[in-house]
């Protein structure tokens, strides 16, 4: 290799660096380096004059590589690489030596800080000395998007993206889209009917020419990377042809099998062949094969006989399709923390202790009791109802550490709905504190307290048990310091929200991370709240963390905007710092293939072959290869070795 001509530019950063690091001395030390032909310092390297000085030096000294000793590469690596590019240099031969955050700001003694700054800079000079000029890899994109989850988040994202002219595949696990929002009676703080605002959107989805809806389906496998994912989707058979089904209910009428209805959270029953609810999209019956007597005319066959239009087909098979998409939105939503976990509150074994969603179904006009609040055990009107907040939330020792965010609001809503249904009833609310940040939220809660006369008790409930046909509630009112005992007709638990079942699996399938609570992890808590850590995969709704409907809709639209932005270009550019195989040394042992987190390596004619578009340049392959037959460009063993030497010289 012909020797590099490197220029070093040491930034004072005003006094930020220069106060602790003798920048002149650093520049001088660098000028003694073998490859260095120019070494300068300047007060603000990132300023226009600073950048111009670098530009000029590159031209004057015919530099082929530059090192900027300045702040963290997270701040100005791009600035200086772009600048180097303007001067005709390859941007990948520009290295940053972080002498501010990692040196000047954390040390006081000028002598030792200067010495360390020299080591850091020298190390960057060595790296630059063996940097290859690299060109970004252009990746053509597929202008099609996969949205996983057909709740409000998925629906909103799908509509926004489809309206921008991109094709969307919306995959929903259940037989209908709509999600939990469809189970809600009214929504806070305006108390408008949930179904009424959601149903039109669901219809839009089903009629949109750019949206392909796949219900009763799950994503099984995802390969590829941003711009070009290959997804395998499996659609379970519904045994009913939605094109033919007239939703006449003749089939359900004759079906002999009765099972609990999930849509009503078990408060009602349904048949094996059923429609989840009247306005389901797609508007079609579904035969639940787990409940059915056997999909066999010999065993039963009543529904098939009853269907005039011949929509029922017992021989329908699962269908697996493979689709190419350019981006993915994950909106897999939440589930309520199971009552079974709450041993102190009866563990789900006490009659008339409901969770919030069950209560929604009691209040809903389309629900279990046709909109009359009746307690499940004896269908009487409950006169004393206790609502308990923070059940399972904010309890790091036993349950979930986090706040589920929406419970304060929906409990207030529940109390209000209850009082509207049963004006002479008493609504008690146990709370720890009220979190009502949101437009009109605080006013809403105040109104429930004052106008609806809900009785708010600050404290926790220690025990629930059944006594004399009622539920005895033992709690404390911490404001008066007294124990409280209430014989309630019904108790409603505001259970914590947790990531929906299957979130762990989908995270694994998508190779995206989860946070400590199991929610999908955003790439950055503040600056990248809708991006996952994997490029091209975006997050929307409660899969990423508890949130209410407006917030979910905002995030879904934000994710949609990101997707639209991403796919608005004909090609994407992928970092060229990818792994490279030395064929002469590779023996095809496949260790790198196993180690690669991105399935970017395969064996071709007995040698490892890197798919540069999939490779993220993590280097797991290179550390695993015992032969050094694979290395990441510009982070080679030789570079690291020389950097080590530079750190210890």
């Amino acid at each position: 290799m012909t020797k590099k001509r490197t220029g070093v530019f040491v930034c004072h950063c005003g006094n930020n660096i220069a106060a602790t690091v003798d920048v002149k001395k650093v520049a001088e030390a660098m000028s003694n380096e073998e490859n260095v032909v120019a070494s300068e310092d300047y007060v603000y390297m990132c300023s226009d004059p600073g950048q111009n000085a670098v530009l000029q030096s590159i031209k004057d000294n015919k530099l082929d590589s530059v090192v900027i000793s300045c702040c963290s590469p997270n701040l100005h690596e791009k600035t200086f690489r772009d600048n180097a590019k303007r001067a005709g240099l390859n941007s990948f031969t520009c290295e940053i030596a972080n002498i501010r955050e990692q040196c000047a700001w954390v040390h006081k003694d000028k002598a030792v800080a200067t010495e360390k700054a020299i080591k850091i800079s020298r190390s960057a000079v060595r790296r630059a000395g063996r940097d290859q000029a690299l060109e970004p890899i252009a990746v053509p994109v597929t202008r099609k998007v996969l949205v996983i989850g057909g709740g409000i988040a998925g629906i909103q994202a799908a509509l926004d993206i489809a309206n921008a002219g991109l094709k969307v595949i919306l995959v929903e696990k259940l037989a209908t889209i709509g999600g939990h929002m469809l189970q809600l009676s009214e929504t806070f703080p305006t108390l408008d009917c949930s179904q009424c605002i959601l149903s039109p959107k669901m219809v839009d989805v089903s009629r949109h020419e750019n949206i392909e809806l796949m219900t009763y389906s799950e994503v099984q496998e995802v390969n590829g990377s941003v711009g070009n994912f290959q997804v395998k989707i499996k659609q379970k058979p519904s045994y009913v042809d939605p094109e033919l089904c007239k939703i006449c209910d003749d089939c359900a009428a004759v079906c002999p099998v009765v099972v609990p209805n999930e849509h009503d959270l078990g408060l009602t029953a349904r048949r094996a062949i059923h429609i989840p609810f009247a306005q389901a999209i797609p508007a079609s019956y579904t035969l639940d094969e787990n409940a059915c007597l056997g999909l066999n005319p010999v065993r039963c066959g009543k529904c098939k006989d009853a269907c005039d239009v011949g929509a029922i087909n017992y021989d329908m098979l699962p269908k697996t399709v493979t689709e190419e998409v350019g981006a993915i939105v994950v909106a897999t939503g939440y589930d309520l923390y199971a009552q079974e976990h709450m041993n102190e509150l009866g563990g789900g074994q006490i009659d008339d202790v409901l969770d919030g969603l069950q209560f929604e179904r009691l209040c809903s006009a389309s629900g279990a009791t046709k909109g009359h609040v009746l307690r499940p055990s004896d269908r009487t009107v409950p006169k004393d109802v206790v609502f308990i907040q923070c059940v399972g939330s904010r309890d790091p020792a036993n349950h979930c550490a986090y706040c589920s965010k929406i419970c304060c609001m929906y409990t207030a809503k529940h109390a209000s709905l209850y009082k509207h249904h049963v004006p002479d009833g008493r609504a008690y609310v146990f709370y720890i504190d009220i979190r009502s940040g949101g437009k009109g939220y605080e006013e809403f809660v105040q109104r429930i307290m004052e106008e609806d006369e809900a009785i708010y008790l600050r404290g926790r409930v220690s025990k629930l048990y059944r006594k004399d046909g009622k539920v005895r509630v033992l709690g404390t009112d911490t404001l008066t310091g007294q124990n409280v005992e209430i014989d309630a007709d019904m108790v409603v638990l505001a259970l914590a929200m947790e990531p929906s079942k299957g979130t762990a699996d989908i995270a694994k399938t998508l190779k995206i991370g989860r946070d400590k609570d199991g929610f999908l992890a955003e790439a950055h808590p503040k600056l990248k709240p809708v991006e996952s850590v994997t490029a091209g995969i975006f997050l929307a709704g409660c899969a990423q963390g508890p949130k209410d409907i407006p917030e979910t809709v905002s995030q879904a639209s934000a994710a949609a905007a990101k997707v639209i932005g991403l796919l608005s270009q004909p090609t994407l550019s992928h970092a060229p710092t990818v792994a490279k195989v030395r064929n002469s040394h590779c023996t095809g042992c496949e260790m790198c293939v196993t180690a690669c987190p991105y399935n970017a390596i395969s064996l071709e004619n007995g040698k490892a072959l890197v798919n540069e578009v999939l490779c993220e340049g993590c280097g797991s392959c290179s550390a695993t290869c015992v032969r050094s037959a694979i290395e990441v460009k510009n982070t080679t063993g030789l570079q690291i070795q020389e950097m080590i030497e530079a750190c210890l010289a």
Binding site: E33, E34, N35, E645, A649
Partner: protein, 344 residues
């Protein structure tokens, strides 16, 4: 100068050599190797795993150190081996013969100062082999003898409770003179016993190279023999045979950098090894000795043909180490016999 040394006086002689560092074979890590004697010398060893060649030709020799500061001419600092006089006890005749061959190589046409600086300070106090040291001894097949004083400064012969000690060189005389009164004068009986012991030693059966005089010519005629590859089929290409050989002397010279900017380091000579694949590899990737057969041929031919042509003697001294220490049964005696037996 010929003397008698009672075995229990051996340590006294060693003690008298206060100007010398004394090394002798000691058993450590289950092998015999030459180590600093620490005052005690017991000559009950079978041959050492490593020959004494490292005393004059160490595995690593620094020639000079260098430094290149940017913008300045390179600075070299020559390094000379430290000169300490070293007496090595218990050297077997095959290794004495080895020293003669090494001296020949490093003084032929060009005198290697590093070698010579060390060699001139080393004295070998040999010990004749009354019995072969192992099953693979064949010194008599290669012009040597188990009682030879070749290459020695002193030769000792074990006569039971005493050694017959004979000076071979002036250095040897000096060593013995330093011992002074620890020695006795040999009686006629001692001389007779010595003669008998030597005669008995020579009569001990050894492995043999067949028709040894014809070997160089026959090897020359067998250069293209397919037998080489066959005989090397089990060879694993390690360097044990040559690193342990008392006469293998090939070396490599490398710059070992301690810093790359400014460039600093040492120019170092290390043993090299004709059994390693890169020994003759060209930059192009071409290797004239591209398989282990060719490398075996090189080792054998160098010992038995080329050295003969250059210096009129076999380079191999028949110590048998390369046979004993080969982990897969490559046997130089067998190889020479097999290859030559088919040549007319």
């Amino acid at each position: 100068m010929e003397k008698i040394l009672a075995k229990n006086k051996l340590d006294d002689w060693v003690a008298a050599l206060s100007d010398w560092q004394v090394s002798a074979p000691i058993m450590e890590d289950d092998i015999w190797s030459y180590k600093a004697s620490k005052g005690k010398v017991q000559l009950e060893h079978s041959n050492t795993v490593q020959p004494p060649k490292g005393f004059s030709f160490p595995q690593r020799e620094v020639f000079f150190s260098f430094e290149q500061i940017k913008g300045q001419p390179p600075r070299l600092t020559p390094i000379q081996p430290k000169a300490a006089r070293h007496a090595v006890f218990g050297v077997r005749p095959c290794d004495g013969a080895g020293a003669v061959r090494m001296d020949t190589v490093f003084n032929d046409q060009f005198q290697d100062n590093y070698y010579q600086a060390r060699r001139s300070n080393v004295a070998y106090v040999g010990l004749a082999c009354n019995k072969p040291q192992g099953i693979n001894c064949f010194c008599q097949s290669v012009g040597g003898s188990p009682v030879s004083s070749q290459g020695m400064d002193v030769l000792m012969t074990d006569l039971g409770d005493r050694y017959y000690v004979a000076a071979v060189t002036e250095t040897g005389k000096a060593l013995m003179t330093a011992g002074g009164k620890v020695f006795g004068e040999p009686s006629a009986d001692d001389k007779k016993k010595l003669k008998q012991t030597h005669a008995d030693a020579l009569a001990q059966p050894q492995r043999a190279i067949n028709n040894v005089d014809a070997v160089p010519a026959k090897l020359k005629a067998s250069f293209d023999s397919p037998l080489w590859e066959e005989l090397a089929r089990a060879c694993i290409g390690c360097g044990a045979c040559t690193f342990l050989c008392p006469t293998c002397h090939c070396f490599d010279i490398n710059d070992e950098n301690t810093s790359s900017s400014p460039l600093r380091g040492n120019r170092v000579r290390t043993w090299d090894n004709c059994q390693f694949p890169d020994f003759t590899m060209h930059t192009s990737g071409h290797n004239p000795r591209e398989n282990q057969g060719a490398r075996l041929r090189q080792r054998v031919n160098h010992k038995f043909q080329y050295f003969h042509e250059n210096f009129g003697m076999s380079q191999c001294t028949g110590c048998g180490r390369c046979i004993t220490e080969c982990s897969v049964g490559v046997d130089i005696v067998n190889v020479v016999n097999k290859v030559t037996e088919h040549v007319g």
